[in-house]
C-alpha cells in the first residue's frame, strides 16, 4: 500500500514570515518613544529659564497648574475660569492628597497675572507652590 501516513507534521517547517512581526514591533517602539514625552504633565508653555532650579523626577506627584501666554488657566489638561479654578484644584487634591502644586506659567506673562494666580492659591491655603522652569547652565 502506498499510502503515506500522517503527512501533516512531517515535511518542511511553516514558513512564518518574520518581517511583518519586526515591523510591527518597531512601529510600536517608535510610537511609544513619541508618546512618552507628551505624558509630561500640563499644557505646553514657554517656561522661563533658570540656572538654579532643582531637577525633579516627575512620578505623578504634581498637580500641574498651567497658565498659557494668553492668560488662560488650566488644571492639568482642563481649562478653568476664575470661579471654577479652586474647585478643580481641590478636586485634584482630594484624589491625590500627597501631591505638590506645580505652576507652569509662560515667561511672557505679566507679573500681575501670575501673581493673581499665586495669590488665589495662597488665599485658599495652597501655599507650598513650586514654579516650573526650564534649565540652563
Amino acid at each position: 500500500m502506498g499510502g503515506s501516513v500522517g503527512g501533516g507534521s512531517g515535511g518542511p517547517m511553516a514558513d512564518i514570515n518574520v518581517t511583518p512581526l519586526i515591523d510591527v514591533v518597531l512601529v510600536l517602539l517608535v510610537v511609544f518613544m513619541v508618546i512618552t514625552p507628551m505624558l509630561a504633565s500640563g499644557k505646553e508653555v514657554d517656561l522661563p529659564m533658570s540656572t538654579s532650579a532643582t531637577t525633579i523626577q516627575d512620578t505623578g506627584q504634581f498637580i500641574v497648574i498651567s497658565m498659557t501666554a494668553d492668560g488662560r488657566w488650566w488644571v492639568e489638561f482642563a481649562e478653568a475660569d476664575r470661579d471654577t479654578f479652586i474647585g478643580l484644584v481641590q478636586g485634584e487634591f482630594n484624589l491625590r492628597p500627597e501631591s505638590t502644586l506645580l505652576v507652569k506659567a509662560d515667561r511672557n506673562l505679566k507679573y500681575s497675572q501670575v501673581r493673581e494666580l499665586l495669590d488665589l492659591l495662597n488665599e485658599y491655603r495652597f501655599s507650598h507652590i513650586q514654579l516650573a522652569t526650564g534649565k540652563e547652565n
Binding site: I16, I22, V25, P48, K110
Partner: protein, 283 residues
C-alpha cells in the same frame, strides 16, 4: 540527472523568536525607565493673614529687590541696574549677566554678612514674569536660602531713594555659598563652607590680577560645584559648573587649586553639595 542545485535550499535556519523576545523586553524596559523630569523653583508667598509689620523697619535686615516698570532694578530702594528690558528680551546669558552684574555683586556682598539669607522680590505688575524668575535665579546664585515674593502692590514697588554710583568695587568676591545636604544629613554649614573656600581666595586673586594685565576689562562669574563626602573628602562631581569669564587661564587656575579644599569630616554617610559663586570685577 536529478541533481538539485545546492545552496539556497529554501528558508533561513535562524530562529527569529528569541530575537523578537529580546526586542520586546528592551521595549518594555525603555517604556518603564525613560525619565520624565521637571525643573522646579520653590517660592514663598507672603503668609495669609499677613504678619504685623515690624516695630522698627530699620531693624529688620531684609534684602528687597525692586523691579520697576521702566526696567530699573533697585536693591533696598537703591537703583543698581538702569535698564533691564534687554535682560528679558535676550536669550543670551552673557548679555543678561553683564547687565545684571552690579546687582549680582551687591546681593552677593550683602548676603555674605546677612544672618538670615532671605531675599524678597517686589515687582511692578507689568514686569514680565520671566524677568522675575531671572532675578530669583540671581538671588539664589548669590547665596539666598529663601527667595520670596513681597506683598503685591498695584503701583509697583516704593520709589527708589538713591541711585548707585555705578562704580563697582574691584576684585574677586565670593558670594555666600549655597549648601545642600544629602539624604542622611550633612554637617557643613555656610560659615564652614565659606571658611574653607577663603583659603583659596589669595591664589585666585593673584591669578585674576595677572589676567587683568592682559585684559583689563575682564568681568564675569564662575560657578563652582563642590561635593563633600563623609570624611571631608572631595567627591566626584567637584568641578567648575559654568564660567562666563571666557578666560582659560583663570578657569585653569581655579580648577587646579580646587582639589586643595579642606573640610572637616562630617560623619558616616553624610554628604553635602556646595555651590560657590565667584564674582570677578575690574572696577
Amino acid at each position: 540527472m536529478g541533481a538539485k542545485l545546492g545552496g539556497g535550499g529554501g528558508f533561513n535556519d535562524i530562529n527569529m523568536t528569541p530575537l523578537i523576545d529580546i526586542v520586546l523586553v528592551v521595549l518594555i524596559i525603555m517604556m518603564v525607565s525613560i525619565p520624565i523630569s521637571v525643573n522646579e523653583l520653590g517660592v514663598k508667598l507672603p503668609p495669609n493673614p499677613p504678619p504685623p509689620p515690624p516695630e522698627n523697619p530699620q531693624d529688620v535686615e531684609q534684602l528687597v529687590i525692586g523691579i520697576y516698570e521702566d526696567g530699573r532694578i533697585a536693591l533696598n530702594r537703591k537703583v543698581l541696574v538702569k535698564d533691564s528690558t534687554e535682560v528679558f528680551e535676550s536669550k543670551d546669558s552673557a548679555v543678561k549677566e553683564r547687565l545684571l552684574f552690579p546687582l549680582t555683586q551687591e546681593v552677593g556682598r550683602r548676603l555674605r554678612s546677612a544672618r538670615k539669607k532671605n531675599v524678597f522680590i517686589d515687582a511692578h505688575p507689568d514686569v514680565p514674569y520671566g524677568l522675575v524668575i531671572d532675578l530669583m535665579d540671581l538671588s539664589r546664585e548669590g547665596g539666598a536660602v529663601n527667595v520670596g515674593l513681597a506683598k503685591f502692590k498695584v503701583d509697583g514697588p516704593l520709589p527708589p531713594t538713591s541711585v548707585g554710583s555705578g562704580v563697582m568695587p574691584r576684585g574677586v568676591l565670593l558670594s555666600s555659598p549655597r549648601v545642600t545636604v544629602g539624604e542622611k544629613g550633612g554637617s557643613i554649614n555656610e560659615t564652614a563652607a565659606d571658611a574653607s573656600f577663603q583659603q583659596l581666595m589669595p591664589t585666585i586673586r593673584r591669578c585674576y590680577d595677572e589676567a587683568l594685565a592682559g585684559s583689563p576689562l575682564l568681568t564675569g562669574r564662575i560657578l563652582v560645584q563642590v561635593n563633600v563626602g563623609p570624611d571631608g573628602e572631595l567627591m566626584n562631581g567637584t568641578k567648575i559648573r559654568s564660567s562666563s569669564l571666557e578666560h582659560e587661564a583663570i578657569e585653569q587656575c581655579v580648577a587646579e587649586i580646587l582639589p586643595s579644599l579642606k573640610f572637616d569630616p562630617q560623619g558616616p554617610e553624610k554628604v553635602c553639595a556646595i555651590m560657590y559663586t565667584i564674582l570677578f570685577s575690574p572696577g
